[in-house]
């Protein structure tokens, strides 16, 4: 039984059903049950996929010579698939209670599953135009979800996001069009097979620039980051967790890795651009974050900074690979980047869910108006501390291990200045999260918030589960690295062999 | 049953569009016409069967060339007025009473007047037609009626009797 198409078909079917269900005025429990069941099934399916070998699925039975679209399950896409399903499962469980504060549960679930279907489609596809289509699905769903509260600030943030997102989509489409014109095919593997012959042409630099701009904007790398600090905090908290936790990865960073490692082949120029983008994002993001007093906005700026780590580390790996340096160093750098990507998904979603939990009971996102919340809300407080320690890189949490590996890899690659910068950024991250601890969790409880209590088990359980992942993700790394990370790292390092793996021969 | 009155009309249009007598096309046409009748049949609700009487078909066939003739004549008239150096026009609104009985007949009258250049039916309130006329001639309602409405009305009255 081939399960790959189900990762798109199930969320789409669920999403199409919700408008009908809302008309039928079904009991709320039924809607909730369906949503949880669907995400749980997808999570189980993606975990089951980890045990299976790489494979290609030709949709419609159109086997090569390529006329149809293919779905690809290789190490990198399986890794992303698991991360997407896991975060969406936790977000849905958290939404059960949190979305009481919003109207139209049916539309919320519909848009959520469309977002999920879009991301799964992006992660699994092996076709450039199909990639564009599914990126659009995810992006449009996220525009609507950012404005789901229907207040003027949210609409404004969503509009800004929409305009910049459309510009980036236009550039992506332009890049896809140019590649189609040059190679006569949209299949990534066939493009990869023909790319080396074209590599010297200036048009390939143009294509690369279009993709870098387009997906860089979706990933909110620093020159293109203006939309993110408005858009991510405006969304309902579980959606912020989805956007920061997985959308900027599945729709931005993952595609950059896929295109530049597997399709174009990493060369020195691209690797240096990756490193520069990563380093600048890392530094600017954290500098902007330190001064923030809005909890969610602070977290959003940290997303830019943390994704900078990932891009920098993978860029270093690519650079070592391109200049013919030692392969183990490149492998370590790529591994560390991917590990940090997964860790960021865990602790950033956790932080956003914590902020949602606090906002749910206190009605505010301003750190200055909170205080002493760890006493009335022990579970949320605990989860929030774990996540804050994790993102600041304090042992024994997962963020520490990935940052350590990143720094080791950068030092081994010989970029001492970048390693120092990484340490500095890590220190600044710690500083800004000390501020969060100090103002939100410690100190006296303000008079207004005397009566707050924990929001309930449905909201606390996902927090605790994610907090456990943050702790165990680092400690148990040797146990699961072989199943999760090694195939992904191999998929990226094998570069243009992607074409041979898919087309055979 | 009233909503299926327009069924043959839809089927006829379908056959004209597909221009084929193959059984598949006809079957599809029947299905499509049924669906369209279900959707908007009660909006259309034309009484089709009386429309098929030979007398009406005859007068319809008379009406078409007559209308065409008036159309051409009005075209030439408007062209003359536009091209003439003095542009001899006298635009204005007029109101005429029509004696046609049914609303459908009045709407067809109004459409014919609109399609004829120089006159434009603006609104229809009960039996009064408000018309914009490029060159208003005459003084009384009877004058207006004779000039603009009467030629069409005479034949339409025969069709919708």
């Amino acid at each position: 039984m081939e399960t790959l198409p189900l990762f798109i078909a199930i969320p789409l079917a669920v999403a199409f059903l919700f408008p009908v269900f809302e008309k039928l005025s079904l009991r709320r429990a039924l809607l909730d049950g369906l949503a949880v069941l669907a995400t749980a099934a997808l999570l189980a399916g993606s975990l089951g996929l980890l045990a299976q070998p790489d494979r290609v699925y030709w949709i419609g039975g159109w086997a090569p010579p390529v006329t149809g679209i293919n779905l690809v399950s290789d190490g990198l896409s399986r890794l992303m698939l698991v991360v997407v399903q896991a975060i969406s499962f936790f977000s849905i469980v958290f939404s059960l209670r949190y979305m009481d504060r919003y109207s139209s549960r049916g539309f919320y679930y519909g848009l959520f599953f469309l977002l999920l279907a879009g991301m799964n489609g992006v992660v699994l596809t092996g076709d450039l135009f199909n990639l564009f289509v599914f990126i659009e699905i995810a992006a449009i769903a996220s525009y609507a979800l950012v404005a789901f509260g229907c207040e003027s600030e949210e609409l404004e943030a969503s509009f800004k996001y929409l305009v910049l997102g459309s510009v980036s989509s236009a550039f992506i489409l332009l890049g896809v069009g140019m590649l189609y014109n040059l190679t006569g095919t949209l299949n990534m593997a066939e493009v990869a097979a023909k790319a080396p012959a074209l590599s010297g042409l200036p048009i390939m630099a143009m294509v690369g620039a279009c993709f870098l701009f387009g997906f860089g904007l979706k990933a909110a790398m620093v020159p293109f980051h203006a939309w993110l600090p408005d858009a991510h905090p405006s969304a309902p908290a579980p959606i912020s967790a989805m956007l920061s936790g997985v959308l900027i990865k599945a729709g931005g960073v993952y595609v950059l890795f896929r295109l530049f490692f597997s399709v174009f082949g990493m060369d020195l120029l691209y690797a240096r651009v990756f490193m520069a983008l990563g380093a600048v994002s890392m530094l600017i993001g954290v500098l902007l974050a330190v001064g923030q007093w809005d909890f969610k906005r602070l977290l959003a700026y940290h997303s830019i900074s943390q994704m900078g780590y990932v891009l920098l580390s993978v860029g270093v790996g690519g650079e070592v690979l391109a200049r013919g340096g030692p392969t183990p160093v490149a492998a370590l750098a790529v591994f560390a980047g991917l590990f940090h990507l997964v860790n960021h998904a865990a602790f950033k979603s956790l932080l956003f869910l914590c902020s949602g939990s606090m906002e749910y009971v206190t009605g505010t996102r301003q750190l200055a108006e909170m205080g002493g919340l760890s006493r009335p809300m022990p579970l949320t407080g605990l989860a929030c501390r774990v996540a804050a320690l994790s993102i600041s890189g304090i042992p024994p949490f997962n963020g520490f291990w990935s940052k350590l590996l990143i720094i080791i890899a950068i030092v081994q690659a010989g970029h001492y200045a970048l390693a120092a910068l990484t340490v500095l950024v890590s220190f600044l991250t710690l500083l800004s999260f000390i501020k969060v601890q100090r103002y939100a969790l410690e100190g006296p409880l303000p008079e207004l918030l005397r009566s707050v209590r924990e929001a309930g088990l449905a909201m606390s359980l996902p927090l605790l589960a994610l907090a456990a992942l943050c702790l165990l993700g680092g400690l148990l790394l040797p146990l699961y690295a072989g199943a999760l990370f090694t195939p992904a790292q191999e998929a990226m390092l094998s570069g243009l062999n992607y074409a041979r793996a898919i087309l055979g021969g | 049953m009233k909503r299926f009155a327009a069924f043959p009309l839809f089927l006829l249009v379908w056959m004209g569009l597909t221009w084929s007598l193959h059984w598949q096309d006809l079957l599809a046409g029947v299905l499509v016409s049924l669906v369209v009748c279900l959707l908007v049949g009660r909006f259309v609700a034309l009484s089709v069967l009386p429309m098929l009487s030979p007398r009406r078909i005859f007068w319809t066939l008379v009406y078409l060339p007559f209308f065409f003739y008036h159309c051409v004549r009005a075209n030439l008239d408007v062209a003359y007025r536009v091209l003439h150096p003095d542009t001899p026009i006298r635009p204005g609104f007029i109101r005429v009473e029509t004696t046609l009985p049914s609303r459908a007949a009045r709407v067809i009258l109004a459409s014919s007047i609109t399609l004829t250049p120089g006159t434009l039916a603006v609104d229809l309130v009960d039996s009064s037609l408000y018309i914009h006329w490029i060159n208003v001639r005459g003084k009384t309602h009877a004058d207006y009626h004779r000039a603009v409405v009467a030629p069409f009305e005479r034949i339409l009255k025969e069709i919708f009797r």
Binding site: A9, F16 | A6, R103, S111
Partner: protein
């Protein structure tokens, strides 16, 4: 002029009557564009837009007030969802028959209406979907203005 679109009363009886007559013929034309998409230029997207035009015409001529009495706010999204589901169902039926989006029906004779396997059915689903969608956009902008949701 009697035009009272401001208050939602609709246009003059001339326009209303003609719009009612035309709507049926536009629907027939739209459905022929949809169903013959695999034989002639056209298909679900173009035909769906034509289908929505018929309904938009009726709504435009009759005005908000009259329309709001028969049209529910949810109708467009429901037809939209159901048609999308039908399209997905065709794909999933193919999946059951051996491959996602497999064209599992017999191909038929070229140039006949019944040819191309699932293609005409897909066209039909897309046509309904696009029609409902465009009409939904129009209704949301011009008829409802603000949607009053139940909190489910």
């Amino acid at each position: 002029m009697q035009a009272t679109s401001e208050s939602g009363g609709g246009l003059s009886p001339i326009v209303k009557t003609v719009a009612r007559w035309m709507a049926g013929f536009i629907l027939v034309f739209g459905l022929s564009v949809v169903l013959y998409g695999h034989l002639t230029p056209g298909g679900g997207f173009a035909g769906g837009v034509v289908l929505s035009a018929a309904f938009i015409l009726v709504v435009l001529s009759h005005g908000r007030r009259e329309v709001l009495q028969i049209l529910s706010e949810r109708a467009p999204t429901i037809y939209d969802g159901l048609a999308a589901l039908a399209f997905l169902l065709l794909a999933v039926l193919g999946y059951a028959a051996g491959g996602f989006f497999l064209n599992f029906l017999p191909k038929g004779q070229p140039f006949q209406l019944w040819s191309g396997g699932i293609i005409p059915l897909c066209n039909l689903a897309i046509g309904v979907k696009v029609g409902a969608c465009l009409f939904g956009v129009f209704a949301a902008l011009a008829v409802f203005r603000h949607l009053h949701q139940r909190s489910a």
